[in-house]
Each structure stands twice: as C-alpha cells, then as structure tokens.
Symmetry: C2
Subunit: 393 residues, 2 copies
C-alpha cells in the first residue's frame, strides 16, 4: 500500500424526504444563494419546488442559474460566475447530476479569482479559494456530490477537461433516491456504467500491485452497481435499487477506492471525454463503448487484475466460466448490452475513419493529465479495439 | 436501505514516515498540548521520541500524561482532566491504540464541562464541547482513530461503558504501519478480532435486511482482516500486512459500514465488556471467546446472514464446505484458534459458575445501550453457548 492522505469532509444526508434539509444546510454558509440546475427534469418531478421552498424558508435569497446541459459548457459556467458578482452571492447550491454539480464547482472556484476559470482546467492556475457549495443529487453516476473534482467542456476549443481541488468538496450533499425515480432507463444505465468506470480506472491503473483492502471494496462496488441497476431497469420506482445505485456511485469516486493505490490514471475517461466533446455522446454511453476495448488492449500486457475481477465479480469458479481476461470482458459486455448500453464505436455511429481525429483530441487531455504513455498512436490503437465487440455478445 | 447521515471529518495521514506530521497538524489547534500515551511500548520503539520531537519543533508546549492501560480507567481520565485545567491545555494528542485514544477523547470531553466525565457514559449528560484531538495510532484494532466513540472502565463500579459524540472525531490521525511492527502476535490477533467483531456486530444486527452495498463492504473487511493478520503473524515486520490490517481496522468502524443499516447494536461488545471489566481480559480475546457462542445463539432464530458470510468470506461453494451457519462459525473458530485466540470461556479460565455474575454486570450496559432484548437470562444463555467450541476446531 502506498502512502496517502484521506480527508473527505462532505456531509451526506441520505434517504427519503431529506430534500427539505437543503435550506438549513445552505443557510449555514450565507444569505444569497445561486441555484444551479439543468434543463428541466427537476421542474417536472417536484424537486425544484421542494428545493426553492426549503431555501426560502431558511431565509435565503435565491438567484436562479438553470440550463446546465449534459457535458456542461464553459460558457454557461462563465455566465454563472458573472451572476455571482452581480448578486453578491455567498453560497452555491447545485440541484442535479454530475454536470450540474461540476458546473457549480467551477462557478465556486471561478468566482474567487480575477482570471478566467478555464485556467484551472489547463493547469495554468491553482485554486486557493472557492465559494461554499451544497448539493441535491438527482442522478447516480458521477460521484461529484462527495468529491473534489469537476469536468467542463470548453465550447470554443471542444476540449472536455477535468480538474480537482480539496476546496471543492461540497459542504453538504442531499441524496434522496426518490429524486432519481424519473431518470429514464438509458441514463440510469449510463450512470451505473460511469460508476463502474470510476472503479475500474483505479482498479486497473493502481501504481501498487498489492492493495487487497481496496480491491475487495472496488469489486463489491462493481457488483453492486450492476445488481442495483438491474433492479432500477426492472422497476424505475424500486426504492431499494435506486438507493443502492446512488450510494454505490457516491462511494465509487469519493477518495476511498484510491486511498493507498499511489498514482492512478483515468485513461478510459480521458478517451471518452473526446467522444463527448466531439459527438456530444452521453458520458456513460461513451464509457461503455470504450471500456471493453481498453481492457482488451490492457490484457495484452497484464491480465491478472482483469482475471481477478472476473473471479470475484462474476464468480467464475461457481459458474464454470473459464478464467481469462477475455471471459471477464465478455461478461462485462453482456451486462452492458443487457442494460442497453453501447459496447462499440459503431453502436455510437462513430466510423473507423474518425479515429485519428478522436485520438488527436484525446492526446491533448493525456498531456494535461500527464498520462505519458498515451500517445496519439496508442490512443488510436485502443480505439481500433473499440470497433468490434468480443463477438459473443 | 435506511436513511442516514454520514459525516466523518477526520483527516487520515497514512503510511511510512508520517509521524513527523503530528507536530504541524496539532499546532493548528493550539499552543499547549496534553500528550496521552500508555505504559511503555512507545518508549521502546522510538515513536514517543518522534512524536515529542515533532510537537516541540512545531512550537508546542507538551505536558505528559502517560500510563493509560488496556481497558482504560476512569480514574486516569480524571487525572488527565485535572492536568488540562492546571496547564491551560488547548489540544490533546493521543499516541497509542484504542485505549489511549479513548482516554484522550474522554479527557477532551470532560475538560469542557464542570460535572464529572462519567455522566456522559451513563447517559446523564451529553457532550456540547470538546477539546480538539490529534492521534498517532500504534495498534490496528479499535477504529477509534477515525470515529467518535470511546469506551472507559469505571474502576470503582467495575463498569466498562461506551459513549460517542460527533465532537470526538480526531481532527487528524497519523497511521504509520511501521509503528505496529513491535506489537506482539497475541495483540496483533486480538486487534484483528476486534476489527472483525466491529464488522460482525453491524452485519448481524442491521435493522434493514436489504443492504447489499454495505454487506459486500463488510464481507471484504472481514476477509482482509484475516488475511492481513495471517501475514503479520508470519512476519511481524511485513509492511504490507501491517498496512492492510491497519486500514482494514480503521474502515471497520468509521461509520461507513453502518451507514444505511438503521439501528444497530453491539451485543457481543456489550457482553465482552463485562469480561474485560471483571477479569481484565484483553478486549480482543474476550471477543473471540464470545463471537462463536453469540453466533450460535443467533443462528437459532435466523441463520441467513451467517450463511451469506460463509459463502462470500470462506468461499463455501469453492471449497466444497456445506452451506450452513454451523460451517461458517466453525471456519471462524478455526481461524481464531490458528491466530492464537480463545474461542471459549474456558480458554479464558472463566468457569461456568461465574456466568450469573457476568450476566448481572452485562445487563447494566444492555440497559444503557438500550439493547432491550438482552435480559439477564438471555445473556446467561448466550454465555452458556460460549462454554464449548463447535467440537471440530
């Protein structure tokens, strides 16, 4: 195990009827609140009204900043930062999924400096101050509700870049599984894939080969993400399934899985971000199209961890499935397909001819994230392995 | 899953050569530090000197309060509280295992009030203020380094009572696995048993029968505690084993395993506390003598969770071991014996004739902890099941 610091100060309030806590939790940090949200779903399911009521009852003045879209845009973040200045905002409340929370984090960081917020994402500036943030989660996926990271797409350069700083941990996050009852099957599955991808990135790229505690934690999270998603797809109002998926997604990227692994990378996310940026693919859909191919590429060099994953998550010994990396990847592909997710670039209508352009975009992020081994050529090679599934799906 | 609040603000600094961080981490909270420690081991292994040096180099004035013993005593806590007053202490630093950290927590709480500190433990008073606490851990066992609980023995009444409050989370805990290299085999194993017991208490007493995320987390922790302990017993200077055991023990009682379970009890600890209080048995040894009997008692009513534990932790399907609660309990007993731990009251030289007196002591704590179903008679019945092992050990 490698040395680490673990310090996650986010307060999680989890369960039914917890949204009315957002007012008091937010009022602890100020008087004027910027309310960041998406493009409409929370208007339909009552969450928006419940949050507004709670914030106002707690004495907060609320300025709206709706309209965050999937693969959230830098231009919209900049508009939010301008509102913070215009209205002397003290605290930001995000109501939504990862895109909304990430946008809110960028607003929190960008409002505390004179330079443009994008400089954080390109590594030219570091965060030293940030407005306090509270959140109400409406999608089990990104883990942003309990971590310090954010990902934003620059609509001018078509770069989808990520960045993190410990000042960006939400102060409080409200996780009410019922707020996800209206998430459609596709996005429910994409969220589960995102959660699985977060785990697999760390599981597969750990600098330390001996991390048994973290391995079992991660294997349990992958199994739970699949099981919980299955329940939600069978019945979108299955509270138990929604709750399991929500808490699994949060635990999948809150710092625990990576503590002790040493340096880790997120190469699958790195490549996927180009699919999102260039084709506006849903993040989880892009990931499920990348994961099998990336794992096949990885297995050529070292297949031990992939086999261990199969043994423990898919119970190879019990099912009579042969132990091999290919078998693990096949089982994952099968589950992705069953959940309605793409498993190839073709499923996303991305032709092989586009691979050079995707690789060209992705390698820029590889440099920012210091994933040195991912040259343009390597990324293109991985993408070529994403053209076809294992054939038995 | 039940509603929950999870908010664990402790900063963990984990790994080799991390002890020199204790000075700066402690100096953030004040100028005058009470240094709480045990009865000598840290003098021999260099930890005491490293901590003193770091605290002084950070500009702290250090007042010693050594002499905490296993099953820490209220009288010694009271002496610490008197020192806090006499020396205008700002911050407390604990260097040791659970007994030392729990004593320090009691001093932190007791120093902030005019009444006697024992009133917290009997439920007559609640904690509203506490001095800040930092810790350097030297034993993987209690989890106290990342939780808000404490257990103290009243040397007048022979009551070993526990209590918790969120103001008692350490601000920073330093976990250097090398600081546990000198822990003898017996206490290494008792620590692993304590960690396993913390997991099993929640696993077995969860109010909610459907907690798959938490179940897999807990099953992984039990497996890891055994595997890591085996490594440490084979080679006490095995860094990887010491690190795995340390982080496993911390994760086993830091609030994560219980989040979502609803009301849980700690009946095995409740009974064990009487063994510690009456016979001064090491806590982990008392637990390993209680766990098999308690599980046998529990399996009469409901054996599903015990069978699931066996399937997932002992790989029943893979080993050809029949699926039954008895088989799970037998596997646990076998591991306890292999690790050198008692599995019956007889192993602790406690005669059957003492059962009524132990039950009489334990039922007092059952009332304080509101474990209503544990009458004097029920506790005696469980203890009678702790007289003999399953016979195949």
């Amino acid at each position: 195990m490698q040395n680490f610091v673990f310090h996650n100060p986010t307060k999680i309030i989890f369960g039914r009827n917890t949204i009315p806590s957002i007012g008091p939790e937010t009022a602890a940090w100020g008087k004027r609140c910027l309310l960041v949200y998406g493009t409409g779903s929370i208007r339909g399911n009552g969450v928006y009204d419940a949050v507004q009521t709670s914030l106002r009852e707690a004495g907060l003045e609320v300025i709206d900043h709706g309209g965050v879209r999937s693969n959230p845009l830098l231009s919209h973040v900049r508009e939010g930062i301008a509102k913070v200045g215009a209205h002397s905002i003290d605290v930001v409340t995000a109501v939504g999924g990862g895109s909304v929370i990430d946008s809110a984090k960028a607003i929190c960081a960008g409002s505390a400096v004179d330079h443009d917020v994008w400089k954080f994402f390109t590594g030219k500036k570091s965060i030293k101050h940030a407005l306090p943030l509270t959140t109400v989660l409406t999608l089990a996926a990104s883990g942003s509700e309990m971590n310090s990271g954010m990902v934003i797409t620059n609509d001018e350069t078509r770069e989808k870049f990520g960045f993190g700083n410990r000042l960006l941990y939400p102060r409080t996050s409200i996780l009410d599984p019922e707020a996800t009852f209206t998430v459609p099957p596709s996005y429910t599955a994409y969220g589960a894939v995102d959660s699985i991808a977060h785990v697999l990135e760390y599981y597969m790229t750990s600098e330390d080969p001996a991390t048994p505690v973290q391995d079992r934690l991660m294997e349990g999270l992958v199994r739970n993400a699949m099981d919980a998603c299955d329940r939600c797809l069978a019945d979108r109002r299955d509270y138990q399934g929604r709750a399991d998926l929500m808490w699994t997604a949060t635990l999948s990227l809150n710092g625990l899985t990576g503590a002790g692994l040493g340096r880790v990378g997120m190469p699958m996310h790195m490549i996927e971000h180009s699919l999102s940026a260039l084709y506006d693919a849903p993040h989880g859909a892009g990931l499920s199209a990348i994961i099998p191919g990336w794992l096949r590429w990885r297995s050529r060099e070292d297949d031990r961890k992939i086999i261990q994953l199969g043994e423990r998550v898919f119970n190879f010994d019990r099912c009579g499935v042969p132990r091999s990396a290919a078998a693990t990847i096949h089982m994952l592909e099968k589950w992705f397909v069953r959940a309605g997710c793409p498993v190839t670039l073709d499923d996303l209508n991305i032709p092989a001819a586009d691979i050079p352009a995707i690789a060209e975009n992705a390698v820029r992020l590889a440099r920012v994230w210091r994933l040195e081994r991912y040259s343009r050529e390597t990324i293109a090679e991985i993408l070529s392995l994403c053209l076809a599934a294992s054939g038995r799906v």
